[in-house]
Amino acid sequence: MSVIYIKGGIVVDPTQGIDGEIMDIFVKDGKIVEESGAGKADTVIDAKGMTVVAGGIDIHAHIAGPKINAGRAMRPEDMKYARNKSGPLRCAMGRVLMTCPAIGYEYARMGYTTAIEPATPALYAIHTHEELDSIPMVDKAVLPLFGNWHLTFKFAAEGDIEKMKAFIAWAIERSKGFGVKVVNPGGVEAWKYGRNVHSLDERIPGFEATPAEVLSTLIKASIELNLPHKVHVHCNNLGVPGSAETTAETIKLAEKIGASKDGRESLHITHIQFNAYTGEKWRDMGSGAEELSKLVNRTPVTVDMGQPIFGHTTTMTADGPFEFALHKLFKSKWINKDVEIETGGGIVPITYRAKSPVNAVQWATGLEFGLLVDADKVVISTDYPNGGPFVEYPYIMTLLMSRKFREKEIEEKGVNSYIEKATSLPSLDVERTFYEIVKMTRSTPAKILGLENKGTLKVGADADITIYPFDCRNVSPEDYEVLLKGLRSVAYTIKDGEIVVKDGEIAKEVWGRTFWVNAVKGATQEIIEEDLNEVFRYYTVSRGNYGVREEWIRRPETIAIEE
């Protein structure tokens, strides 16, 4: 490992309250160090006139596992685009859906150094880790799915927090996962009966539990387990008019339970845009972002945007009934997978059209959240690939920073004027500062994930650094083109103390770590032994073959939770 001096850059680091100060940053052995401890520089980067921030963190992108891979196989028309020819680096394929090498390279070229795969059936965790292991350049982690697992329903119905804790700890240890993901709790099970659940208080078919009980029990258990990242939820009723109400109710569950022991939020509502529509029918559908943003700002809840990007993409979610609805709506191709007695999922291609009133509202709603929720509570995301490609994050950042750019986009793309009636976006004059954007892409996701060495340039932090080729103090929302260009073309990305991108091109292929949380000491495992044995009678794999061993992962890093 080498020593890098980053000299004279304009540093922005919200974790230290640094907003555009000219500073030197010293990197040694993959960490950020004091000048005194750095020693002789192997490389000196003259960052004069450039902006130095921590590496970006994607809190929610479907980058690995059976879903995206089935999507790839289903969409050769999307995969045929070549991003990089084979040479010293790998060939990298894909337009919106991408191959593993392409995903790693594109994150790095955008200055991102960590990405979280947010939904894998624990049954398929081996597969998901294989794919994560094939993604170069970034650190990563995976969230196993809990919201439709029969054991989750059982412990929720019994209100047994101790068993739920043991179960969570068992499942994330088995899947080498990072936290608790919940998708449409109860709804995916109901879909196996051809139905869905439509409210938080509806009984889940075949069980005594309700979605509200599932969520509350999981949130409480996650708090008690001290998981670094608490419950990460894709709410019920996603994607339909009226979903804003369900989201509000979900947030209130967390409000009732309260914050985590360390004061951080206890619930992360993911891709909130997709769950924030008012109205009763598509015809009177509107944005619930204003109300929901206020609610988020005063409750122990964080969100990510789930911003749609106009154009083609592929939706993929564990929310099986939602994907069936999309298939019926668009008569498009449709993958469905019902997974044992733990979850399910679906995949449907989609095109977001600026001229469509519904898509226009979705676009505006995502941006409203990005503008209205506290920068300490909202993270930029497209819910890749559901909203669109993650490579458009610089575009989203620019939209959030420049009202003029928003107006230009509305005008040029011909965004349906229904947004004037149904959303507050056209009248919002909020313009995010660069400091806030750094929060929303670095320090806020790091805080939500509980990754203390990420999203920061503090001494001791991982040396994951983005250097933008512009002076953030001089960019004005008026010059959005300059801003967009600057955000798109990273001067340097440093990963674990190595220069991996220079002038927007990959300089070196590296392999990041896979974080996983070991919380088994936080709960008495024996209390669920019988339940596990009982439930495995209905699995088609043996309990002994269920899960992932650490030695099968390329670079595992355990985050151990003490008792």
């Binding site: 289903m74 969409r75 050769p76 028309e77 999307d78």
Partner: protein
């Protein structure tokens, strides 16, 4: 000018040569035109003998065995290509204009996703004439393909507009998921008309998908499963 192209020898593996009449404009450019012998990038003149005739045409004549040369006429926009013998896969794929005449037979994918122009094949063709490429939702969008011999399977699938005429027989899946345009098979065809949303198929005889209903005029309409407005006219009925 007219450019006459002949293979120098038998190729070790198939050659990919996206030759269009445009390359007949300039001798030097034609000589240096990039073609591919497997993973090796070659210049056209390394693999082929080139002969120029200084006339007023924009024309390419292919002499000798081109049955293992692929992508002739890809995205061609005008002018003429005459193939004197047989020709390999993907002839005239994505073609937009001009004319290709093949005196011999063609391999698969003649006029794949063609948008305009004309292809005339005097012999037989392989499968997927005027078809959509993998995963694409639309096939042929315009132009005309005439096959004097027989055609293989998957002819004109997902066709949006344009015309395919097969003078001989065709195989299975004529006009599957067709949306518009016209396909004529004068001889026999296999499975025909499945999931047709629009357009017209005229066929000597065929095995019609069991999802069509005969109207009062004796014309089959369907596909009922997609509420389609396709028309299949069986000429020997």
């Amino acid at each position: 000018m007219t450019l006459i192209i002949k293979p120098k020898s038998e190729f070790e593996v198939c050659v990919e040569a996206e030759i269009t009449p445009e390359i007949a404009r300039n001798l030097e450019d034609a000589k240096n035109f990039k073609v591919y012998l497997g993973k090796e990038e070659r210049r056209l003149e390394e693999l082929f003998d080139l002969e120029f005739v200084d006339d007023r045409e924009e024309k390419v004549i292919l002499k000798g065995d081109f049955s293992r040369v692929k992508w002739i006429g890809r995205e061609m926009k005008g002018g003429e290509i005459i193939v004197e013998g047989n020709v390999g896969m993907h002839l005239g794929a994505f073609m937009e204009g001009g004319r290709i005449v093949v005196k011999g037979n063609c391999d698969d994918w003649v006029g794949g996703m063609m948008k305009g122009g004309e292809i005339v094949v005097e012999g037989d063709t392989g499968n997927r004439v005027g078809c959509n490429y993998w995963g694409e939702s639309e096939g042929m969008k315009g132009g005309r393909i005439v096959i004097k011999g027989n055609a293989g399977n998957y002819i004109g699938e997902k066709m949006v507009d344009g015309e395919i005429v097969v003078e001989g027989n065709a195989g299975d899946f004529v006009g599957s998921e067709m949306k518009g345009g016209k396909i004529v098979v004068r001889g026999k065809a296999g499975y025909t008309g499945w999931d047709m949303k629009g357009g017209v198929i005229e066929v000597g005889e065929c095995e019609l998908s069991p999802s069509f209903v005969k109207d009062a005029e004796g014309v089959w309409r369907g596909d009922v499963n997609v509420k389609g407005e396709g028309v299949v006219r069986i000429l020997q009925d």
